[in-house]
Each structure stands twice: as C-alpha cells, then as structure tokens.
Amino acid sequence: MNHITNLLEIDRLQTVFWNGKEDVVAVQDISFNLKAGETIGIVGESGCGKSVTSLSIMRLLGNNGRIKQGEIRFNGQNIADNSEKELRTLRGKEISMIFQEPMSSLNPVLTIGHQLVEMIQCHTSLTRREAKAYAIEMLHKVGLPHGKNLMNTYPHTLSGGMRQRIMIAMALSCKPKLLIADEPTTALDVTIQAQILELMKVLQQESKAAIMLITHDLGVVAEMADRVVVMYAGQIVESADVFTLFREPKHPYTQGLMASIPSIHGANERLQAIPGTVPSITKMPEGCRFHTRCALATNRCRQEQPELKSVAGEHQVRCWVVEEQTIPLSNIVNSRQQEASVL
C-alpha cells in the first residue's frame, strides 16, 4: 500500500477502440498496483481484456485504440499521455515485453545476433563489438550456451523454446524494471513451458524486475505469481494474493475457473465448464457482466453494476452476492453445479 514502493500503478484505466462509428470499450475501471520484484498474474478467458491491459501500458494499441480514461503511473509518473518519443525511451529499457508466439515474434529475415545487437545498441552506448559480446553473454544467461554460433543463425532454424529464450534475452538485455509477459508459454509444449517459467523466475531474482504475467493457465499463475487479478469481460472481478485466491475464491467466475481445472486427485469426473461465453464487447449485458452465466444471479445482479469492493485486506471482489454475504457462496455454487451436471 506504500505509495513509494509501487513500481506500476494502474488507476481506473479505460481503453477504447474506434470501430468506425463509435468507441468500443475494451477494458474499463482497471486498477491494480505492482511493486518492484513482484509478480502479478492476470487471468481470464480469451477476449476478457488481459492483453488490451498490457498493450495499454506499452501503448501498442494500433491506430484505432486509445486510452480514454485513467492513469498508468510508472515510477510515480503518469505515462498514459506520454508522447511516442517519450514512450520509446521507456519501451525496451524500463518496460519490456515478451509475446505469446515465439515462432513469429522474431524477424525471419534478420539473424539472431543482428536483432539482439540492435536492441542493445538502441538503449545503451555500447559499441558494436561490446554489444555483441554482451549479446552472447545474455544468450548464455538464458540457457543457450552456444551463443557465438547462434548469433549468425536465422530464427527459422530454431525451436519454439529456443526462440522464446532468445525473446527473453532480448527483453531482459537492458535490465527493465517491468517485464510484461503475454502468455509466454502458451505456444510451447509442457516440458519447455516449465523450463521457460523456471528461467523467468531465476532471472527475476537476479534482476529484481517486476513481472506482469498474462495467462489463462491457472497452473502457471500458481507457479509464478505473488498476486492474481482475475478479469472478466473487460473488468477486474477479483484480485487477491495467490494463496488467498486459490484457497478461498470468492467470485462465482473465479470459482468456476477453479472448478474447470482437471484434478489428478479424486474420482474420474466430468470436467466442470462455465456455461455460455464471454459477452461481446459491443453488447455488454446490463448489471453485473457475469450475470448471464452466473448460477447465483439475483435481480439486483441483472440491474445494477457491482463495484470492486474489498472483502478482507487486499482481497477485492466485484459481486453483489459476495458483498451481501447472505449465504456461504461456495456451497451454493458447488451444489448448483452438481445439479447442473446431474441434469
């Protein structure tokens, strides 16, 4: 809660996209903080606004997107209205990003060495030779010991895991204070996933960088994050530290997410699924955005939009039912879902 120790503060962020007729709201009322060295997990289904949130920080919103409201404070400075030029000094040096698809996030016609050296020279005053030596060292750091040979190869000759390692090397080469990882392991197979996550952890401890980890994989979150933000339909529905969230998820959506993880313990049951899909951003339901899929929805949920309210310390939930706390929520959800699966 200390103002000074927050590296990143996002305050009531609203990002909109112009569809030719009107502004379509992609995310709204997003607020969370991130301290130096901390890892925050941002979880949610496809299309819930996870990526838009991260792209808003980097301002990679394309020609149609813009931040309409709210502030993004990095090191206490609002960067939401920064010019392209000011942003360029932050991008790569202070805030770096790793993308989902390692297969397509390296330029296919340039060598690995070229891309690394370019990145390093862009943000430091190293000479070409020094930058090269440093690039080889970075490759070594991310577990690619044959850096010298790798420098002259093109991306298509490397595997997905190796490319993601190279992306990490590029992203961390200028010691950024914040690393945004947008589904960094989604496109990799499971064994490589574990390696990459481990690598990110080790390098984080070394560089003290804060990580904003965007994922739909709760396993990855449990492994990596200190705190978790759960997003649904462009809003934060629940945020808590990772232990609290996994032990006592409050929001029906979070509970649904938890229930949909296959378990290796217990009987061989049919997987739980949350019925329905995320509403389209042009046709948001009135009231709580989750009410169309929620087993507990009341009349109030259909009419009034709930606010993100603290239930205990830093544990915040956006739900009328939780706020009213009339019934022990988890029991009802479980029994209703069992009923549904019986039917």
């Binding site: 980097m58 993308f99 016609v109 943000h123 060292e137 093109y154 000759t157 190796m162 010691k175």
Partner: protein, 305 residues
C-alpha cells in the same frame, strides 16, 4: 566481462536449464536456397546469362564496336559484307556498331527508370501503409489518379513539350510507373506490420524509421525485386516504342527503337532486312531474357512451393 551491466553469476547459471543444443545453419543458408531454386528454372538461367552478356556488350561497346556508330563509314544501305557484318543503314553508318551502342541506351533506360520508380514507389508505399489513416487515404487517391491517366497519350504530350531525349524518357516513364510499386509495397507492408515481430520491435523500443527500413522493408523485398525485373523489360519496350514513333531517342544517337523506324518504309521492309531484323531481334531477346529472369526470381522467392 567488465562492460556488462549484469555480472555473470555462476551460482544462478546452474539453476538455468540449458536448451537443447543447436546445429546452426550458415548465415547465407537463405541465399543458397534461393540460388538452388533459381538454378532449377532453366529458362531463367539462360535469361540471366543473356542479360549478363548484354550488360557486358553495353559496358565494352567502345572496344568491341568495329566503327563509330554516328560516323558515315560506307555506302548507303549496303547489304552485310566482310567489312560491315550487318551492312550499313540508309545514311551509310555501320549497323552492327549502332546495334552495340544502342544496347547502352536500352539498358540505361531500363535500369535507371526502374531504380528511380522502385525507390520512390517503395518509399511511398511503406509510409502510406505504416502510418495509415488520412495520409494513406491521400496517397492512395493520388496513385489512383496516376493510374487512371491515359499513359501513352500523356507521355507523348509531355515529350513534345519537354523535348525528347533519354533523360526525359526516363523521367516520364518513372513518373507513370511508381503507383503500381507503391500499391504492391503498401499491400505487403499492411500485412507485415500486423505481425508479432513488428509489435515486438516497437515494444523493445526501436525507432520508427528503423522498424520501417530494417525490419519491414527486408520482408517486402521479394515482390519488389520481381516487379522491378518485369519493370526493366517493360521500360525497354516503352523506350523502343517511343523511339520507333520518333518521340524517343533522337538520331544520330542509336537506339533499337529508332533503328526500327527505317522499317516504316516498304522497300526497307521487303528488300533490306539487315536494317530491321537485328534491332527487332535484340529487343525481343532482351525483353524475353529479362522476363525469364523475373519468372525465375518469382518462383525462387515464393516460399509456398
């Protein structure tokens, strides 16, 4: 390494799991692949050989031409003989020498025109696609305007105003050819700029010109090269056509086109084939050769095959 912002910590290194080892390919693997694909196209190789020969002929013209192309060295309209291998023209100049010097004109017109308009078209296309919005709109409407002009008529008008010489022809041809390159480049940049590695480049803090010319341009270069190759052939044809009509390169300077002008008279056409068959054959050969090279390049650069 003292220069490194990071100190290499052996302790933490052991915690990092190394990736599987690499068998690195050589740096020029791409070019090698391109070469093997190109070699497979026999006509393209033949075209390339002929094009190289033509370039040599143009460069070495002063040494290999038996006579001065502008000087009267024999009788009028003499048929081929030991002294004048391809005979003489209606003024008594050596046809072979004129043919050799005309190679210079054709190749200069072909290459310079294309270099000019490909550069301009590429720049305009990249800028238009990358920045988008009203700028893209404006630029594309201007290219539409240029493409809607009756090309040949405007060329004739411009040349009759500015006078006809090689420079004018090059400038006018370039002026009306850049829009097709601009549209081509715009199309490929529009698709390339959506790709992850361009976003990654922006996210890593690279400057806009660097992204445009070091990251996007190399990825769009394939179609540009192919287009340029066909452009050379078509510029050579246009020059020949204009010169044939008397609107191009003016005598006494020799060009294949103005050498053909003689064939406008029926007696030349029927009785003096040495005056028009060689320049006609040269135009045909050059254009075919360059088009085959273009075909070969297109197939070699097309990674879908």
């Amino acid at each position: 390494m003292a220069l490194s912002p990071y100190e290499l910590d052996e302790g933490s290194m052991s915690a990092v799991i190394p990736a599987e080892s690499v068998k690195p390919e050589t740096e020029d693997a791409f070019l090698k692949q391109l070469f093997t694909r190109f070699i497979r196209h026999k006509l393209a190789v033949a075209g390339l050989v002929i094009t190289v020969l033509l370039i040599l002929v143009a460069l070495l013209a002063p040494w290999i031409a038996p006579n001065d192309p502008k000087e009267v060295t024999g009788v009028f309209s003499a048929p081929p003989s030991a002294e004048h291998w391809l005979g003489t023209d209606q003024v008594g100049r050596d046809v072979l020498s004129r043919l050799i010097y005309a190679t210079q004109i054709s190749l200069i017109v072909g290459f310079v025109t294309v270099a000019l308009y490909v550069t301009v078209g590429t720049l305009i296309g990249i800028v238009s696609a990358y920045f988008g919005g009203w700028l893209d709109m404006l630029i594309m409407r201007i290219t539409d305007m240029f493409m809607a002009f009756p090309f040949l008529m405007v060329i004739l008008v411009v040349i009759s105003i500015l006078g006809s010489n090689m420079t004018t022809i090059i400038l006018v041809l370039a002026l009306f050819s850049w829009p097709s390159v601009a549209r081509l480049v715009r199309g490929s940049v529009l698709s390339i700029k959506q790709l992850d590695y361009i976003n990654a480049g922006v996210a890593l803090g690279l400057s806009t010109p660097r992204i445009l010319f070091r990251h996007i341009f190399p990825n769009a270069v394939g179609p540009i090269i192919v287009n340029a190759t066909f452009g050379i052939a078509s510029a050579i044809m246009s020059e020949a056509g204009l010169s044939f009509l008397g609107m191009g390169v003016q005598p006494p300077t020799a060009s294949w086109g103005n050498m053909l002008t003689d064939a406008q008279s029926l007696t030349v056409l029927t009785d003096q084939p040495w005056l028009w068959v060689p320049p006609g054959a040269m135009i045909l050969l050059t254009v075919l050769a360059i088009n085959f090279v273009g075909d070969g390049l297109r197939d070699a650069l097309d990674t879908r095959q």
